[in-house]
């Protein structure tokens, strides 16, 4: 039938658009085109799915159009409104919704199976349950990640002693139950299938619970990859090639980012998941503070230092995002640059709460991206830099990563800001960073602290510099 041919052709075009779009997304020059291409591929595939001939299907187009319009409007409005600083939260929510969709689909397959309306062989049951498991974990995991990023959930409130053991037991129970459902046919029944669903949802929540702060970029990447895999599993369920291709591509991109983030912290994935930070941080934090003194610097002095320097390196961290200070930072940059100061930015791969978080913020503030140096470039440039301004970053500039084997972050590649001539650290208080580790940088002879809200402090610096 000629019509089926066109539908298949549309799916093929959609799949190629995904591959090519993602390829273009990984280069700055073509990224925007790549995204649009992938979106077009998606539209073609969705239209094909709507028109695809199905024998004696009631279609119910009204339901489809209604929910598409609703979802589309919600998606569009939230995408327009979201602040760039809140991008990690946004990505987490969208990601969770993808996982939730896979869960809904799997339940949609299981209900008629247990009521006897349809038949599934054990291979098909395996795939449906896999989509359910991965999608469920991605869903609740992403929602908790959102809660943590948004500051709604406090890490210590969702964890308890023996949490890792509990997680392992929970995972084992979930998998055993899944095995039973795969092997046992209709015998276990709908109730057990629903219990299994509940377990996957609880596991997703519980698995993200102990992971926080600086590990967030890893978790978000991992959850991203899970959502992709659940979509791929759903593609197997529906024997739909484009769902399979799209899902696997996302799974691959999420996995690559996860690996990159782990490398940037010099930790293995298991180490991140089991939550090495939380437990050993107390031991590492005990030393260091004691009798050492912190030097403070006032706004005027800091402004003078910056104004009369030859080169300035800004090290942004999550604090910059929290304070929404990216635009005032750019203003300061402009003022200093106009006076012949060379201003650049050092971006650590895990600065912020998601991969590339700082780059997006600075791009929003119109900082040209040749000014952004990555870890290696920045470390090469730091020894010849006059003033380093650390804005709300902590763990990524911690010298303990290099010289204190007892530190939980020992071995993590860091920005060697202490090699610069002067370091000004903007911080709200002397509290430890998100990882809960004391930072010897604060007591370094070349360091001075500028306490206060980052946006506020930089704003005052701008005023001071203007008056010079």
């Amino acid at each position: 039938m000629a019509f089926t041919f066109y539908i298949n052709l549309a799916y093929l075009i959609g799949a190629i658009a995904f591959v090519w779009g993602l390829r273009q997304l990984s280069s700055p020059d073509t990224a925007r085109r790549g995204n649009i291409l992938a979106a077009l591929g998606m539209s073609v595939a969705i239209i094909a799915t709507m028109l695809m001939p199905l024998s004696s299907a009631p279609n119910n187009y009204a339901w489809i159009f209604g929910s598409m319009a609703l979802g589309g409007v919600i998606g569009l409005v939230s995408a327009r409104r979201v602040q760039m600083t809140a991008m990690p939260q946004m990505v987490s929510i969208f990601n969770g919704l993808g996982g939730a969709t896979a869960v809904v689909l799997a339940i949609g397959e299981l209900l008629p199976y247990y009521s006897g309306a349809t038949a599934l062989n054990s291979g098909e049951r395996l795939i449906v349950l896999l989509a359910l498991l991965i999608g469920g974990v991605a869903f609740t995991g992403s929602m908790l990640a959102f809660g943590k990023l948004q500051g709604l959930v406090n890490d210590s409130k969702v964890t308890f002693r023996g949490h890792n053991i509990f997680n392992l037991v929970l995972l084992a129970a979930t998998i055993i139950m899944g095995g039973w459902l795969v092997m046992g046919g209709t015998t276990p029944g709908l109730i057990i299938a629903l219990v299994f669903t509940a377990l996957t949802l609880v596991y997703g929540f519980s698995f993200v619970a102990p992971i926080g702060g600086a590990d967030m970029p890893v978790v978000i990447s991992l959850l991203n990859s899970f959502t992709g895999l659940s979509a791929a599993a759903a593609g197997l369920v529906y024997n739909n090639k484009i769902m399979l291709v799209g899902g696997i591509l996302v799974g691959a991109s999420g996995t690559i980012l996860t690996v990159l983030m782990c490398e940037a912290m010099n930790r293995s994935l298991t180490n991140v998941l089991i939550g090495g930070f939380g437990t050993s941080a107390a031991a590492g934090g005990a030393k260091g503070s004691g009798d050492q003194v912190v030097k403070e610097v006032g706004i005027t002095d800091a402004a003078i230092q910056l104004f009369y320097s030859g080169s300035v390196m800004v090290v942004p961290g999550y604090g910059l995002a929290v304070a929404q200070a990216q635009k005032v930072a750019k203003e300061l940059d402009d003022l200093l640059s106009a006076n012949g100061v060379e201003v650049r930015y050092a971006i650590h791969p895990v600065a912020g709460r998601m991969p590339g978080h700082m780059n997006v913020l600075l791009a929003e503030a119109d900082v040209p991206y040749p000014k952004l140096l990555d870890l290696e470039e920045a470390n090469a440039a730091l020894p010849s830099t006059d003033v380093v301004v650390v804005v709300g970053a902590n763990d990524v500039v911690n010298p303990a990563a290099q010289d204190d084997p007892s530190s939980p972050i020992y071995g993590m590649p860091v920005l060697e800001v202490w090699k610069a001539k002067n370091v000004i650290i903007m911080k709200r208080s002397m509290r430890t960073g998100y990882a809960g580790i004391q930072n010897p940088l604060f007591f370094h002879e070349r360091s001075s602290m500028l306490f206060g809200d980052a946006k506020d402090s930089i704003g005052k610096l701008v005023q001071e510099v203007k008056n010079m």
């Binding site: 995204n35 119910n60 489809i64 919600i74 991008m87 969709t101 991969p355 997006v360 791009a363």
Partner: protein, 108 residues
């Protein structure tokens, strides 16, 4: 076990497994060298693509009986969530990439 055996003996399913394996390799090959600048847009763009699950939900609705409100509601929920993921994901990625593009012009 019988069902598993059946599943993997079917030519069409086997082809699907091949497709799966090759796509995994292709995926890693295509995305392997992504610069830090693009980590966030890549992630949110990929995220939007994971919204392909919406097609499953569309098929679920299309095949449901018009009076089977449970399945219809599940499908509608799936389509709505999937659509938020797809539309929101692509839109937000475009918004981010637009900012990067401006920088490009300033540079040259």
């Amino acid at each position: 076990m019988e069902g598993l055996y059946q599943y993997f003996s079917q030519e069409s399913n086997l082809l699907l497994i091949y497709l799966l394996l090759f796509t995994i390799i292709l995926g890693f090959e295509v995305i392997s060298k992504v610069p830090t600048v693009l980590h966030t847009p890549l992630m949110s763009g990929a995220n939007a693509i994971s919204g392909v699950v919406i097609m499953g939900a569309i098929l679920l609705i299309r095949q449901a009986q018009p009076d089977d409100y449970l399945t219809l509601s599940l499908g509608a929920l799936g389509v709505t969530l999937g659509m938020v993921n797809v539309v929101g994901g692509f839109a937000v990625t475009d918004r981010m990439l637009e900012m990067f593009k401006k920088k490009k012009k300033q540079k040259s």
